[in-house]
């Protein structure tokens, strides 16, 4: 059971990572980030149940909240970029380099 949960969790994490690394649309990348966090959270929730640890469930909730806050900030940043006329696309963001 533990292995299964770990499997799913890591799968989600690495899919998220792959999205973040490989995809170019910023919104999709944001999704990837959330996927990484959510994937990890699965393990925490699982262990919380398994070990009847209320603290960890609370922690999972807190992490969700933080992730949501992060997502909001991410969206705000993307929006601002869009408003400034930048394409919401990773390869377009290459003014700074070298």
């Amino acid at each position: 059971m533990t292995l299964w949960v770990w499997g799913v969790s890591l799968f989600l994490f690495f899919v998220g990572l792959a999205i973040v690394v490989l995809r170019r649309q910023l919104l999709l990348m944001l999704l990837g980030l959330e996927l990484m966090i959510a994937g990890t959270n699965i393990v925490l929730v699982f262990y919380g149940g398994l070990r009847a640890d209320a603290d960890i469930l609370g922690a999972a909730l807190l992490i969700l909240a933080v992730a949501a806050g992060e997502a909001v900030v991410g969206l705000a940043l993307i929006l601002r970029a869009y408003n400034l006329g930048l394409e919401p696309d990773a390869p377009a963001l290459r003014e700074l380099r070298g």
């Binding site: 990572l17 973040v20 690394v21 490989l22 995809r23 170019r24 990348m29 990773a90 390869p91 963001l93 290459r94 003014e95 700074l96 380099r97 070298g98």
Partner: protein, 629 residues
């Protein structure tokens, strides 16, 4: 407190005071600079006489002046003392230097009268004189080396005195550098001796007492190195070549250098070191061989030269060779005797040459430009003749006695040395009579100068005459009274036999005089009987001219060595140092910058790349963590 005869201190103090006074005078009255110098010469001459008397009555003495340098450590102390050595050898040298040097000082007052750098000349000149005085009274090798180098330095300044002349500049540099090559030998010998003594330096008396107890290998090394030093200063093969060029300086400089101050230093060193040199197996033979080679070679070259001073310069080289030969044959006394007589006649000859050049308004004269000066310059002619006869070794002129002592020893030794001795006698007569005939009898060729040649003024003629008198008389005085040998024996650390000077002896008289007559006859034949034969004969054989021009190609070899050193310096200083050593330093900058550009290119600006590297970094760390699974 220093316990020394005041006259001994005076020998050094008087010139120093004169130079300091002259230095002050120089700044506001440069025309008066010669007065303190002349006064100093007079004082030194009187002091030398007094010292000779002191030595012969009271014997030799060592005087400690002061401790020059010293260091202390628990195990050992190291020190170098400066002192004065007064013995027969130094007394004789002092007499020679003060007499000849003083007279040349006087002569210079006339000779340099019109030169713009009159004051500077006397400052340098007296410094030269002072250095040589210091050299002969030095009490140990370090001190001797000190003055030895000062002599070289002064000669550099004086040979290059007319520095507007390219040849003078070159000759000065050549003289200094060649001497430096010899000095290295001296320095090395000093170091070895100091290492042998173990506690720094020691004066001659103590050192020579060590003599036989020194490791023979070390001693041989020291002996050869000292001889090497002497070959440079006394112009022996292979380091003789600077001397003929050194006549680029004013004539009084040449006279002083050839007669009293510079080239005599090497012979003096050999004589001083005789107690060591005589202990080394084979070294005296070497000295004799080198001396003979130098004497013959340079005499041959002297025959081919036409410049007055150049002939005399090669003649000096030849005579120094004779002296070295004498020392090598164990006749130190004879060699020193010859040094003494040579000082007189060579000074006379140079000053006469100076008179001639002066009369012709040239810095130096060629035999082809002179000719028939007999009537116009009677005093010069007389002096020159006396000195020439002395040089050639005509009985009873001074040169005869001293040369006779050496030729006699050569004949005694027999074999190659005997042949060499006779050959030298022949050759010296040949070149000096050739010169005499050409200059004073030969055809006149000086119609063109604006005014007729005239005799030199009294201030120049008087010293010349006095020197000529010396060139005549000093031999008889020294030999028949045995005074020189007696003097030299005071404080002598070698065998008494080495100082003995034979009196008149028939075999060597006949041998020497017959060679002399051959030489004189040959000279007459070449210059007067068939004056055109020699130039024609030589003109038809250009290789021969080249042979003599380059001193049997030896000069070409030397300039090759110099060029090689210069090329090496360029290779190191211009190419190796800046391209290789510094190139490695300067090259790092561009190399790191290139690396920087590489790294910079990796930061592409693409967010995906950034994240990829982030993941890769994490993966690498993870791999590291799991590797230890």
């Amino acid at each position: 407190m220093i316990h020394a005869p005041f006259s001994l201190l005076l020998v050094l103090i008087a010139p120093i005071l004169a130079i300091v006074a002259g230095g002050f005078l120089y700044t506001f009255r440069p025309r008066l600079v010669h007065w303190p110098m002349l006064a100093s010469c007079a004082v030194v001459f009187l002091a030398a006489l007094r010292l000779a008397y002191l030595v012969s009555t009271r014997g030799a003495m060592d005087v400690l002046l002061y401790r020059w340098a010293a260091t202390w450590s628990p195990g050992s102390s190291w020190l170098v003392d400066f002192g004065l050595r007064l013995d027969g050898l130094s007394a004789m040298m002092l007499l020679l230097i003060s007499t000849v040097g003083g007279l040349i000082h006087l002569y210079s007052v006339g000779y340099m009268e019109e030169d713009a750098s009159f004051g500077r000349f006397f400052l340098y000149f007296h410094f030269f004189y002072f250095s040589m005085l210091g050299l002969v009274v030095a009490d140990n090798y370090v001190q001797m080396y000190l003055f030895w180098e000062l002599v070289g330095t002064a000669s550099y300044l004086l040979i290059g005195f007319w520095y507007h002349k390219d040849t003078a500049r070159r000759a000065a540099l050549q003289a200094f550098l060649t001497n430096r090559v010899g000095d290295l030998g001296f320095l090395a010998a000093v170091f070895i001796l100091m290492a042998i003594v173990g506690r720094g330096d020691s004066n001659f008396t103590d050192l020579f007492q060590l003599g036989a107890s020194i490791n023979p290998t070390h001693l041989a090394l020291v002996g050869f190195l000292l001889f090497w030093a002497a070959t440079a200063k006394s112009a022996q093969f292979p380091l003789y070549f600077w001397l003929p060029d050194a006549m680029e300086g004013p004539t009084p400089v040449s006279a002083l250098m050839h007669a009293a101050t510079m080239v005599t230093a090497g012979i003096f060193l050999l004589a001083r070191s005789w107690p060591l040199i005589s202990l080394v197996d084979g070294l005296p033979q070497w000295v004799a061989a080198v001396g003979a080679l130098t004497a013959i070679g340079s005499a041959i070259v002297a025959v081919t030269k036409t410049d007055l001073k150049r002939i005399l310069a090669y003649s000096t080289v030849s005579h120094l060779g004779i002296m070295a030969m004498g020392i090598g044959l164990g006749k130190v006394g004879g060699a020193l005797f010859h040094l003494l007589t040579h000082g007189f006649f060579k000074a006379t000859l140079f000053l006469c040459a100076g008179n001639i050049a002066h009369a012709l308004h040239k810095p130096t004269a060629d035999v082809s430009e002179a000719g028939g000066l007999r009537k116009h310059m009677p005093v010069t002619f007389g002096a020159f003749t006396v000195a020439a006869l002395s040089l050639a070794g005509v009985f009873p002129f001074a040169g005869f006695f001293s040369k006779d002592a050496i030729i006699g020893a050569a004949l005694e030794r027999g074999g190659v040395m005997a042949v060499a001795g006779l050959l030298i006698a022949f050759l010296s007569a040949l070149y000096i009579f050739r010169m005499l005939f050409l200059v004073f009898w030969g055809p006149r060729s000086w119609q063109h100068p604006p005014e007729r040649p005239h005799e030199a003024g009294t201030v120049m003629a008087a010293p010349v005459s006095l020197l000529a008198a010396g060139a005549f008389a000093v031999g008889m005085f020294a030999v028949w009274g045995h005074r020189l040998t007696d003097l030299l024996l005071r404080g002598w650390a070698g065998s008494a036999e080495s100082l003995s000077i034979p009196g008149f002896e028939w075999p060597s008289f006949f041998a020497g005089t017959s060679m002399l007559l051959f030489g004189a006859g040959a000279a007459y034949f070449l210059t007067t009987a068939m004056p055109d034969w020699d130039p024609a004969w030589r003109a038809s054989r250009p290789w021969l001219a080249r042979l003599f021009e380059t001193d049997f190609y030896y000069k070409s070899f030397v300039s090759g060595v110099v060029d090689a050193v210069l090329a090496a310096s360029r290779a190191i200083g211009e190419i190796f140092d800046s391209r290789v050593v510094d190139g490695a330093v300067e090259g790092t900058g561009p190399a790191v910058r290139a690396l920087s550009a590489r790294f910079s290119a990796a930061i592409s600006g693409s967010l995906n790349d950034y994240l990829w590297w982030l993941a890769a970094g994490a993966a690498a760390l993870l791999g590291l963590a799991l590797r230890t699974l």
